[in-house]
């Protein structure tokens, strides 16, 4: 039992950052914008969150700082792709390079420092109890991530604003012609995506390893991007998919530590991407509406033409 609980806690730790970043990216893509800069945004969030926590001694302020940092960085991307109609793929990749560089630059002053880990806020009787820690032993960011899955799902499906956002992503010209500001909606979606990626990054620098190290997200932003596709742009599937990826990552480590070598380790490392390709193939072969990419994904909005 203790063994299973400890394994689940590891899986939650592996899952939460990609869930947060993936959820943000899902909203961005639902609005018709493809932002490949998630990895860079996570790094900006990681250093922003860490930096603010170092100065304020308050991890809540740190998480807020991570969200603001991620959102601000994503707005640079937004200006380029929305205002100047630059290529979204190229700009997103540039954002990753920018985020990596700027976080390293800021991080020079924070290398070698630590903060207290942003752990559970429940009383130790629950948070450290051998059994109850399964439910109460996590950082508040973990619960926030799961709650946000349902908030975003409800927002997209049940609210008027969510309907507008989806309309902008499916058919921007129609949304524009009936009076909605496509650009404004996309700005907000991109900023939300940046904030969520930022918080995902802060999970690394405040919770898992409360320190700053250059490139500490080590490619999780790319897994988050794959996750959105794997989930078919649906929030429920995103939650399931994130945990599925988390379980795969943990399985690799357990298989190695327990001495199993029936599959090469590269197989495990490739699994999230391989599963994404499989999911994409299934989605496209079914051709179900709503489970495929937003129609305007990646296309610049040019109402005059």
């Amino acid at each position: 039992m203790d063994f299973t609980i400890a394994a689940i806690i590891t899986i939650v730790g592996l899952t939460t950052p990609i869930l947060l970043a993936g959820l943000g990216e899902l909203v961005v893509e639902k609005s018709g914008v493809l932002n490949l800069g998630v990895e860079g945004l996570m790094l900006v969030g990681a250093i922003s969150g860490f930096g603010v926590t170092v100065f304020t001694f308050n991890p809540w302020a740190g998480v807020l700082g991570a969200a603001v940092g991620g959102a601000l960085a994503s707005l640079i991307f937004a200006v380029l792709v929305l205002q100047l109609n630059s290529n979204q793929v190229a700009t997103g990749l540039a954002l990753t390079i920018f985020g990596t560089g700027v976080s390293s630059l800021i991080g020079v002053n924070f290398t070698g420092r630590i903060v207290a880990p942003f752990g559970s806020i429940f009383p130790d009787a629950l948070a450290r109890d051998p059994f109850w820690k399964l439910f109460f032993g996590y950082s508040p960011i973990v619960y926030f991530a799961i709650i946000m899955v349902f908030v975003v799902g409800w927002f997209l499906k049940r609210t008027r604003a969510g309907l507008i956002l989806r309309a902008v992503g499916e058919n921007d010209l129609s949304a524009h012609s009936i009076g909605y500001s496509v650009i404004r909606v996309r700005y907000m979606a991109i900023a939300f995506g940046g904030a969520m990626a930022g918080i995902g990054g802060a999970y690394f620098s405040l919770v898992i390893t409360p320190m700053w190290a250059e490139k500490m997200t080590a490619g999780r932003g790319w897994i988050a991007l794959a996750l959105v596709v794997f989930a078919g742009w649906r929030t429920g599937r995103l939650l399931a998919g994130a945990y599925f990826f988390g379980i795969l990552m943990a399985l690799e480590l357990y298989a190695k530590a327990a001495g199993f070598s029936f599959l090469p380790s590269q197989f495990w490392a490739a699994m999230p991407y391989a599963m994404t390709v499989v999911a994409l193939a299934i989605i496209s072969s079914r051709g179900t509406a709503g489970a495929s990419a937003p129609a305007c994904l990646g296309k610049p909005f040019t109402p005059s033409t």
């Binding site: 063994f3 400890a6 394994a7 806690i9 590891t10 730790g13 592996l14 950052p17 390293s104 991080g107 020079v108 290398t111 070698g112 420092r113 630590i114 880990p117 752990g119 690394f204 898992i208 390893t209 409360p210 320190m211 700053w212 190290a213 250059e214 490139k215 500490m216 997200t217 080590a218 490619g219 999780r220 990552m249 943990a250 480590l253 357990y254 298989a255 190695k256 530590a257 327990a258 001495g259 199993f260 070598s261 380790s265 590269q266 490392a269």
Partner: protein, 358 residues
């Protein structure tokens, strides 16, 4: 002046002239290049190599200047990165990871006038030296401490790749621990990366969950130590003293001290006496240093660890002294025999008591 396309073009035409003038000033100083695996801020492997680079600047700053490229992957892209340093005018290039071996040899053939120093590899040429550090001597000290400090007798080893340096580390750690506790076993996880803090953290949690109460790392971030700190267990720093990251969990660390070697080789370039060589220094020469012990280490354990260090310094101790059995129980080194350096450099088997997937 308004910015027109024509003005911009003028500026662009002027720029190369300005930059052409620069090398004339810089030519007095010999350029030395470094290829780094991770970021210089990793606080581990690359951080230590960068300290060595800084030592060169400090010692020979009036005669040489150093440049470096960080985050160079151990694939074909390394070739381009090394070539770039040669084209930038470097006379000496340090390629500081095993995975740059073939790329270094290849580029070295294209630039016969440039000297190369490849870290931890075994392929040499007239203008390519290899150098290494006997990290496994440090691992023997850590294993001695771990064997004594572990209550469960199950030790964790967080590895990167199955390369000789790591295999030596695992074996030295396991053999030294077994000298203190013959029943000690080492669980090994290779994470297929030198630097991936989230994965290092998750792998450490996994090892702990499988019963390890002391975990040593052969990856470059302090992530594992931070996890051990939170769990109230013990571990060791890698490449540098990492005690600031985990004041309680950090028992000691292996510090990589590259400065003296880098300064000596840079001096040889300045003097024109550089020659291809294979250098494998260790504790005796001061390239492997053990950090101050944590107060949690009892005096008798500290004395044992000091004994190993002293033995390496005066040549009376070698952890690779037989009898040594491999994982399948086959005797690889007979009683009383000591493994030769040439055999250590290409070792690819684990000793008895190491539990691994490969």
């Amino acid at each position: 002046m308004t910015i027109s396309r024509r003005n911009l073009l003028k500026g662009a035409a002027a720029a190369p002239l300005a930059s052409m003038a620069l090398p004339a000033f810089a030519q007095d100083k010999i350029k030395i290049g470094f290829i780094f695996l991770g970021p210089v801020g990793d606080y581990g492997w690359t951080w230590a190599h960068n300290k060595g680079r800084e030592a060169v600047e400090a010692a020979l700053g009036d005669k040489v200047e150093t440049i470096y490229t960080e985050n160079v992957a151990e694939d074909a892209s390394a070739e381009a990165a090394i070539r770039d340093l040669c084209n930038a005018g470097c006379k000496l290039v340090f390629t500081t990871s095993y995975g740059y071996m073939d790329q270094t040899i290849k580029v070295a053939a294209e630039f016969p006038d440039v000297k190369f120093e490849h870290c931890t590899g075994f392929k040499r040429a007239d203008n390519v030296s290899t150098y290494n550090s006997k990290f496994h001597e440090g691992r023997a000290v850590l294993g001695t401490i771990a064997g004594k400090m572990s209550k469960s007798g199950t030790l964790g080893y967080l590895g990167s790749f199955k390369v000789p340096e790591v295999v030596l580390g695992v074996n030295a750690f396991a053999l030294a621990a077994q000298k203190q506790n013959p029943a000690a076993t080492v669980k090994l996880v290779m994470i297929d990366s030198w630097f991936d803090p989230p994965k290092e953290a998750a792998a450490t949690e996994t090892l702990v969950n499988l019963g390890c109460d002391v975990v040593t790392t052969h990856t470059d971030s302090p992530a594992a130590l931070q996890i051990l700190e939170q769990k109230g267990l013990f571990g060791f720093g890698q490449g540098a003293d990492m005690s600031t990251f985990a004041p309680t969990a950090h028992l000691t660390a292996i510090e990589d001290i590259w400065g003296p070697y880098y300064v000596a080789r840079a001096q040889a370039i300045v003097d024109g006496t550089w020659a291809s060589a294979d250098t494998w220094d260790g504790m005796k020469e001061g390239t492997v240093v053990i950090s101050p012990y944590n107060a949690a280490i009892p005096a008798d354990v500290a004395a044992l660890a000091d004994g190993v260090q002293a033995g390496y310094k005066d040549g009376t101790y070698d952890i690779f002294t037989g009898p040594i059995f491999d994982q399948d129980g086959v005797e690889r080194v007979k009683a009383g025999e000591v493994m030769a350096l040439a055999d250590l450099a290409v070792i690819d088997w684990f000793v008895k008591g190491v539990e691994s997937a490969s």
